[in-house]
């Protein structure tokens, strides 16, 4: 094998490394598949954002779902994060990262919306301070 690292003797794969039996052609095909899927999802995102054909309140949710799908495509086809046993450590680290990201974003948006909702309108605060 020409990769300079011994995949046969190791249980794990470095993140970004690919476990394929095929040659260069297969690997390029993998990147081409990822590129095609990413283009499809990006184009859908831009189309959905600018169209009147979809029920308007559903658009932000649709955009977020499309973005998460595209992140998955990038992780699988470009970063080669798979569900295989040689990738367990990488997936676990990713899962922890995703947990923290969700906590930070979800928590901030939730708490700030709640504060906004409970705050007195600005003009009333000004009146009380007089």
């Amino acid at each position: 094998m020409s990769n300079g690292y011994d995949t046969e003797n190791s249980v794990d794969l470095a993140p970004g490394d690919e476990h394929v039996e095929g040659g260069v052609g297969l690997r390029v095909l993998g990147y081409l598949t990822g590129l095609a899927l990413a283009i499809l999802l990006t184009a859908t995102s831009f189309f959905v954002a600018g169209t009147d054909l979809v029920w308007q309140p559903s658009i932000p949710v649709a955009l977020i779902v499309l973005a998460i799908a595209q992140m998955g495509v990038h992780l699988v086809f470009f970063l080669h994060i798979t569900t295989g046993p040689d990738n367990t450590n990488n997936v676990l680290a990713l899962a922890f990262g995703v947990l923290i990201v969700l906590l930070v974003i979800g928590g901030s948006v939730w708490i700030m919306a709640n504060l906004n909702h409970n705050m007195m309108p600005m003009d009333q605060i000004m009146q009380m301070q007089r």
Binding site: M1, S2, N3, G4, Y5, D6, E8, N9, S10, V11, D12, L13, A14, P15, G16, D17, V24, R27, V28, Y31, G34, L35, A38, I39, T42, S45, F46, A49, G50, I59, P60, L63, I64, L66, A67, Q70, M71, H74, L75, F78, L79, P85, D86, N89, N90, A93, L94, F96, G97, I100, V101, V104, I105, G107, S108, V109, M112
Partner: protein
């Protein structure tokens, strides 16, 4: 390739190859490539945690325009589409360059990295012009909390891309000067991880900042 059983006579006494995943075989410490790549993967994830704080800030401050212009008036989605295409194409060519590095093909590696660099510079040029035009229209980062959050988040991503391009040029020079040594190959692995991760963050940027931000 050296046969593993010849190099380490006792590493596989029962010929359990193919059964490593069962947990029966005990391999030694992970190779340097795995340790380096895994460490860099942890760094990338912590970088994403930092970006998540900027995204949370932007989401919270999206409506706080202080009477100034909102995203709908400011953002030019055609520019954003071009930027997205550039970054996606550069991610693809970066992948081709890492295949070339694995097959020790210097020409294809340098070509792939050069194309990646050109797409990255194109991305930075469009982003720089966008920022300049916003500031010229009086919509700089000091105008409102919304614009402060916008410039911090998108500018931070732009800084990462700039650092990535410097790293890319360094890798081209190192492969040119030193060839595909194992340590250089580890750096190429880390660079590819970094560059693909930047594209993943850009997905979140164009979705949350531009597409949702110009609808709000």
């Amino acid at each position: 390739m050296v046969d593993a059983t010849i190099a380490y006579p006792h590493s596989d006494p029962h010929h359990l190859r193919g059964m490593e995943a069962s947990g029966i075989a005990h391999s030694g410490p992970a190779s340097k490539r795995i340790a380096t790549g895994y460490g860099f993967w942890i760094f990338i994830l912590s970088d994403m945690v930092m970006f998540s704080a900027f995204f949370a800030t932007y989401a919270v401050l999206l409506g706080q325009t202080a009477g100034g212009p909102s995203g709908r008036e400011l953002f030019d989605l055609r520019n954003v589409a071009i930027e997205t295409a550039f970054l996606l194409a550069s991610s693809f060519t970066c992948g081709l360059a890492s295949i070339a590095a694995d097959t020790r093909s210097t020409i294809w590696f340098q070509l792939g990295m050069a194309v990646t660099c050109i797409f990255g510079l194109g991305f930075l040029t469009i982003e720089g012009r966008e920022f300049a035009s916003l500031v010229a229209r009086g919509a700089g980062p000091t105008r409102s909390a919304f614009l402060s959050a916008f410039f911090t988040l998108v500018g931070c991503h732009g800084l990462h891309v700039s650092a990535g391009i410097l790293w890319l040029l360094t890798m081209m020079a190192q492969v040119f000067a030193k060839g595909f040594r194992p340590d250089i190959l580890r750096r190429i692995l880390c660079f590819a991880l970094f560059w693909h991760a930047l594209d993943i963050i850009w997905i979140a940027v164009f979705t949350v900042v531009y597409l949702i931000g110009s609808a709000a």
